[in-house]
Symmetry: C2
Subunit: 192 residues, 2 copies
């Protein structure tokens, strides 16, 4: 809970009264490795704060998984589009490790915005940040080459290379696992 | 100014005091047909509300214009990414007709958020709406075929077919003007 309060404080100040509201509106939740925070077809009802563990985001395209993002500890998780519009998700959010979250339901988040002293400002700043981040990620997803996307993975998630299975890294880069091995071998060659 | 106040009221209520603040922080601005609200390389300093006229949004890719959006009367205009991050724009916003706007500068919008009774909530709701709209438009921009994008143009901008030059419609669909004429001819054939 302290980690969550600190994360909110990166956007707005919180009073003792605000802290009590956050405590009351978020609830603990656990995911086993491989299980889902959200599946395609379901409406995203929760925003989660990851206390421990790791999630990945993917879409299914003709039966192929395209991983497009990861959320490690001390970040928030949500399919924000499905959540805001309360319409079924086209994406999956899956735990890659046993994951411990604090989550808040849609109606309780509205209550949070209304009752925290700077609740609406917090919501605005989060929405603005997500707008910018999502735009960059989506543009990267559609426009960049496999080499550029592998560079992105190493740059954006430097601590995840040991934690993410190779076939998931390959699905993030948009290539087959064998092709990823080839890119890695080529790069290793450069430095020896 | 009444149109602007009504547009804000679609998100939050405004008191008489709020109205005076809006009046004070927005300023009138005019664009001739063909001139720019924003050019690539410049930082987007303003959000504009279009009282009369029409704007289009495009990127240059290897010298080719790709139009990806339009803003007619009674809508807001901004390169929200450049505006939020206060970094140079990669996009152009150009008037297709003589256009009359009310615009607000970055620092004055922050003041608006802080001083309107529901200012922060207004900012949150706008950011959330823009997030959803942008996600849908960007996905359409990258994933859909020329036929689908022409359908989108007709569906999203039913009143603009007479107002937008053909080469701009073609650059929205992502094809040459001659190919657009062919699509139109084929469709006309279907109905006779």
């Amino acid at each position: 809970m302290t980690l969550l309060l600190n994360s909110i404080r990166q956007f707005v100040p919180l009073s003792t009264k605000d802290e009590a509201i956050v405590n009351q509106l978020f609830e603990p939740y656990q995911l086993e490795s491989g299980s889902f925070f959200l599946q395609a077809g379901d409406v995203c009802q929760y925003v989660g704060f990851i206390a421990q563990g790791l999630l990945r985001y993917y879409v299914l395209d003709d039966g192929n998984e395209h991983t497009y993002d990861f959320s490690p500890e001390q970040t928030f998780t949500c399919n924000y589009e499905s959540f805001l519009t309360q319409t079924p998700s086209t994406r999956y959010i899956q735990a890659l490790e046993p994951t411990i979250l604090l989550r808040i339901r849609y109606d309780n988040l509205q209550k949070l915005y209304e009752t925290l002293e700077h609740g609406q400002q917090f919501g605005r700043l989060v929405a603005e940040q997500l707008f910018v981040v999502m735009l960059q990620k989506l543009t990267s997803f559609y426009r960049e080459t496999a080499d550029e996307r592998y560079d992105n993975f190493l740059r954006l998630f430097p601590n995840l290379t040991e934690r993410v299975p190779q076939y998931v890294v390959a699905s993030y880069v948009g290539i087959k696992p064998q092709s990823l091995s080839r890119i890695r071998a080529q790069r290793a060659g450069k430095y020896y």
